[in-house]
Assembly symmetry: C2
Homo-oligomer: 180 residues x 2
């Protein structure tokens, strides 16, 4: 997963995978099936290992905008810990690299976006109940797109501070809109 995450699908070879995991070629193929199957399974691993720890507070029924700030901050801190320019987000990377030509990867991306949107929408329902459902839906989509932009940026940027400023600006704009 870490190889696909950092280097992408095409730039990761079977040798990279078996060398890092310490498993034999035969085992990889007999147990999982091949490179593409491994890739697809990585999305599920990524959800459990990376997305859930940072995002589950957002998915809590009583979350506020702070939970979104915490999601951003956790992912930025993770990126900084792994070294910037960093790996970004496995799913965001897949959205640009593989999704347009890989229906199964595209489905994993869609599922992730749906998860994010649902979480963001739940927070917006708490934070700005006066907004229409359509407005909240659009704002949730906006947050998904913003996350996509942020994690793309984290692959080219050298300082976490740039990402933190971006994240806080996104949230301040949301707050401004919610206060309307």
């Amino acid at each position: 997963m870490r190889h696909f995450w950092r280097r992408g699908y095409h730039a990761t070879s079977i040798d990279d995978l078996i060398e890092t995991v310490g498993v034999s070629r035969h085992t990889l193929y007999s147990a999982i099936g091949g490179k593409h199957e491994v890739y697809l399974r990585c999305f599920d691993v990524y959800q459990d290992a990376v997305v859930t720890p940072a995002f589950e507070k957002v998915e809590d029924g009583n979350a506020t905008l702070d939970a979104i700030a915490e999601y951003f901050e956790k992912q930025i801190a993770l990126a900084a810990a792994q070294g910037l320019p960093g790996p970004g987000c496995l799913v965001a990377n897949a959205a640009t690299e593989t999704a347009p030509h890989d229906a199964l990867a595209a489905q994993k991306v869609q599922e992730h976006h749906h998860r994010l949107k649902t979480g963001f929408a739940k927070v917006l329902l708490n934070a700005a109940p006066q907004l229409s459902a359509a407005d909240r839906s659009n704002l949730a989509d906006f947050l998904v797109t913003s996350a996509q932009g942020l994690w793309s940026m984290s692959r080219t940027v050298h300082y976490a501070s740039a990402l933190r400023e971006q994240a806080s600006l996104i949230l301040s704009l949301i707050e401004l809109r919610c206060a309307q």
Copy 2:
């Protein structure tokens, strides 16, 4: 350029290039140098052929927020004309695929981001002169990140309407902030 744009660097082969362009292998290598050199030149071609036509109004000294809306709309219309899910933006794709492991590509991405930021900042200076320079700089960065997010989305989304809603929401948030 179109191959790199749509399929990315690793998924594009020399055969793809010479077949599409109608040039011989020998000519490609003697005239340009190799795959990587072709790739790097494509960024310049892309600036002239795609970015400038959509963005030059933003770079005009007297541009308003409408010019940014027009930039978004032109790129969305182009994506829709090429078929969604589309190729997105060559530079945005490079930001996630190659930039982290290719210093020269990373430089092209940086130059593009700087171009966008400078254009956006110029508009903000006209639209909201009461804001501090730091605020305008942050908002310009935000617009760069938003563009990155939008063009990433355009590689997974099936309807241009989703992109148009996103673009208009981004602009409405900017307007809200500028009216403060």
